[in-house]
Symmetry: D2
């Protein structure tokens, strides 16, 4: 037990609240709003550190080939924590938007060429989640070389060699036990159910009285594409081709497991895996929200001007918003769902192994 | 398959957007802000309907003596949905607060004696959760008789006879299987661990150099009370006495089960029960937030004036905020936790029955 | 004074909470989540009604050639109210996202071809703000003809003939008194200041040691475009050409006034106009946020499937998010700001006419 | 123009993200959630610094006997910024609530006797706003002596000697020009209007068919108290007596000015003062929300245990929530409003001096 620990020492507040030096002041033209600019960015970096701390602990769990069952609840808890931090990251944009473009102009030039792009922690989060070099937009790839210090660049390069959460999740999904089990039969029956559903959708479009012929044709083509996609879903070779083309990031086995979990999420044993996948999807959505809000804020602040780091601001951010979707595959699962009523029956043995009881009987 | 269903017919928008009649207009003094007043209350009532719909489906599950394991995921999902609605209920207060007190005065008198107190759906939510007559403040009890139509009163009275979510949750907790199992031994060892912890706390206070003697005495008394409470926790007779005095609403067995679930929440089998209890606690907290925001809004609107229903407004609302805490017991659980390191070991057999596996081995 | 008004009668709750009929139930397959789907949409429609009510009152004020000064505070207050409603519209997406894709599938087919696109009130809001036919994406134009009832179509067509808030705001900006005043001189001096600033920016880029030659070229080109845009800003003919090409929606005079207000917003007399313009910009931003969240939610729900109304869902919504920016001009103002220090001095006479006093002297 | 400024240097990230040392680690029992505990508190302190920075700039403006009109817009803007920060402070509670009581227990004892109470910056905010020693609850007064280092204590004591925002606002209100102007006449007519309104309220209560006799009596007594309060409002001596008794913090003249601004807020010249007062009220409300959320979070974490600083946690925080309301007077204004229709006419000369024009005529 320590004696006499004091609040400001414990939190090292001398560092935290002593780390704000205004460039505008150094240049003899103190700009009131630069303080807000600094503190907002520092608050972001604090939260990035926390996200990284949680993320690393999750990667440690998933990096272990034997995933201890007790750990899954913890992982889920920590992902939910990351979500709660993301809500604050988004809310903080409302604060920065109280800075008007005219106020920003008073110190903006002093910051050139520093840029939010240079946030190593944010890049680190992206890489740990799964946004590695190959997935980045070209501007981003270039910036890695031209804007980062060589130490930062090297640090991030090494990070890219480690497996990301996307990769570890894929491996975990691939080795799911219930898919080896009677696998062939299940997906064969699923195929039948899918075809039944698509035939029905075709009828819906054809008999829709409010559509023009041109619209019907458009939609039937769309449906044809869906049918083709389903074929790729159930054919490993075709799936892996699409994957190479950038359509999917998960492996064929991983994607099918994720789909299975979504279809049978009410089975108690799949409850945690379903919640895990849903949280990954939520986190992807919240980062996208944040990027969208960020891009809009920059448009508000700069109009069509270039950013302090020399990027074209709003356009660059909009592009990364589209591209940097780590878990987009989980959104795409919806394409391949079929209604519960059409789902093939699970074999009894498998169903039993998915269930457990907490309702008044001894287990 | 239906043909030709139209958006506005499906949603019955003629009713929804045709149900706003301004009393101020009828009286020849149209007040612009009365529209906001009506629509905000109607939006609340829509969401109350949705909350009731979810709540009823949850009560149906818990009312069944055999709680099907597949249903637990659904219950949790729907409680989380209620939370998401509560966030909107709270957010809506920001809207109503754009009405200034002066604007409210322009139509307030026309509404007398109507009052938000008369929201039958809200009373219904309270009753289904577990705020029955006996737990209400006196003003509330009186209002039931004087402010509600006899039809509404009778409806609510009948509702009170049915078991509430609090009661059904208590019964479910009481029949938890893992507590019958070796029960006596576990709580005996827990008692030992508690005493060890309290002895340590006593030392912490005594050796705290920053406390005055008076403060130390105050805190040691506080600790003595805690020790007494722990004794009541582990003694059914004492616990039930406190319960009669209003200190607890859960039964002794129910409270111990809830505590056990919180202590061993990392065991996979307790994951869902833990999440269920946490959601009840969240919902209680969010309703309390909403009541607090509501009370503040009324203070802002009326100062110290009486409300349209004749209640003393802010004071009445503040009182119900304190009193109407359905799941306060779940907050009180924290009083009785001990650090993980001090927890007694669970017997192997019990531990095994709490675990299941989803990590690459066949179960 | 009325006697005996009752809460549920006043709010016509029989209509409000009696307007939920599940299509899935009619078809004999009741789907629990359809209730949520209906109620969420109804809550949206209630709030759309409130937004329209506020918007119409604002249009009435701006439609009057003499804008009474007392009314400006009211207009600002009501725009702020619309913002507070928009926050709830966005928050409500969290509720609808508690519906999983699989749950949606249970009743989705029963709703075909109804679609959120058919919300007449939302189209009305768009039109009143200023998104008229010409500005819509092609899919949207087509949908007007194929998806709306002829009564709804006619109603919206008539609405398009009335001046929108964008148009009325433009007229109000054009007749701003302080721009006629010494106008020529001010913009001439502004031109000089601009050129000084752009010359400085050129130096910044050229001397930035972290940029590659290619990047420098890219940014210098960007700057050249900015210079061209500034030339268009100060040349009515060029500006109107760009406007015809869709670059701007405000007239030359309106745009310059808006810029002037942003530059001299600290002058007390420009305080209200500045706040008015900022609120329009906020509202545009919040609708865009809402559209982005909406598009994401649809992606989550449908993947790449078509929507119930036959639209391609996520893609359609993403397209309208880009296109339906009513007050994008106000974001573009930032492009044309120059630092306060470089601003030309206002003539004394003009400055005096912009000021008033509330600081302890008799006015 | 600087060359080569780097993001991480500019933000001094070595300090910001290098200031987290876990006490639990030092004691050999690393507790994962202590990181969250530290970072959350550090984020709070960053934002406190920003609030203080804005607050100080506002105090500088109001401390000047001549309040430059250009400054008022700036003050309002910065108060709105403080509000946007407060929303983040509140949102951050959702993050800390992802720490469960059991997780907190793993490191809680290592922190004794440090306590959030020792946040000097937060105390500073309270004092600058107007919560000085005399207004604090007794526990708070004691804590100042026993828990703060002597340097911190001295710093805060000196701060108390300077005028707070409450005091400066009161002085500014007192010297409002339009109240000297015909003051006597206005409040005399107001008195008449008030009596008319109260007579009408008496009738409303007496003729309310839904009230029992007992309730009527209760409400008539309440009305009598209101009448007495109105008498105090218009009688300087009585008002100052109530002020001494703690009922009001503003002076008689200040309170009347605030009331006048609320009554005639639509007059353009009162628009900024009205917005200023509303923002003070909002800020008071948001700090109260934050305290309430904080108190609830502590209840959740500790149940009825004592806090690390030796305070009784939830009870202490609830008490300060009630007591530390700086601008409660502004809420109380609503008590003294009368409907617009009953308001006495303003003399033409005064009305003219309150108006200005921005609607198409030359000023």
């Amino acid at each position: 037990m320590t004696s006499g620990i004091y609040y400001s020492d414990y939190l090292q507040l001398d560092k935290i609240t002593g780390a704000q030096e205004l460039e505008s002041e150094k240049h003899g033209h103190p700009a009131h709003d630069e303080m807000l600019f600094i503190i907002t960015h520092q608050a972001y970096e604090l939260w990035f550190k926390q996200i990284l701390f949680e993320l690393q602990s999750i990667l440690d769990v998933f990096g272990d080939p034997i995933l201890e069952d007790k750990k899954m609840g913890q992982v889920i808890h920590r992902l939910a924590r990351i979500k709660s931090i993301q809500y604050v990251l988004i809310q903080q944009i409302d604060i920065i938007e109280t800075m008007t473009p005219l106020d920003f102009m008073e110190f903006r030039d002093y910051l050139v060429p520093a840029s939010g792009f240079q946030s190593v922690q944010f890049k680190q989060i992206e890489i740990l989640l799964g946004i590695k070099r190959d997935y980045r937009i070209n501007a981003d790839k270039e910036f890695f070389h031209s804007r980062l210090s060589s130490a930062d660049l090297q640090f991030l390069n090494e990070l890219e060699r480690k497996p990301s959460l996307l990769e570890l999740t894929d491996r975990w999904l691939e080795r799911m036990p219930f898919l080896e089990f009677h696998e062939f039969e299940f997906w064969k029956e699923y195929d039948l159910a899918v075809n039944k559903m698509l035939d029905s959708d075709t009828q819906i479009i054809k008999s829709n009285p409010t559509l023009t012929d041109r619209e019907k044709q458009f939609q039937l083509n769309d449906l044809l594409m869906t049918r083709t996609r389903f074929e790729s879903l159930l054919d490993r070779t075709k799936f892996e081709e699409l994957r190479k083309a950038g359509e999917f990031r998960l492996s064929h086995g991983g994607f099918l497991s994720a789909l299975f979990i979504n279809l049978f999420r009410d089975e108690p044993m799949l409850y945690s895996p379903f919640r895990y996948l849903t949280l990954l999807l939520d986190i992807d959505e919240l980062f996208t929200n944040w990027r969208q809000r960020h891009a809009m804020m920059v448009q508000r602040m700069l109009g069509t001007k270039i950013g302090t780091g020399g990027s074209s601001g709003h356009d660059y951010l909009s592009a990364t918003t589209q591209q940097n979707r780590v878990f987009l595959d989980l959104f795409k699962l919806s394409t391949f769902l079929i209604p519960r009523a059409d789902l093939p029956e699970l074999p009894d043995e498998l169903r039993r192994s998915l269930g457990f009881f907490f309702h008044g009987k001894k287990p």
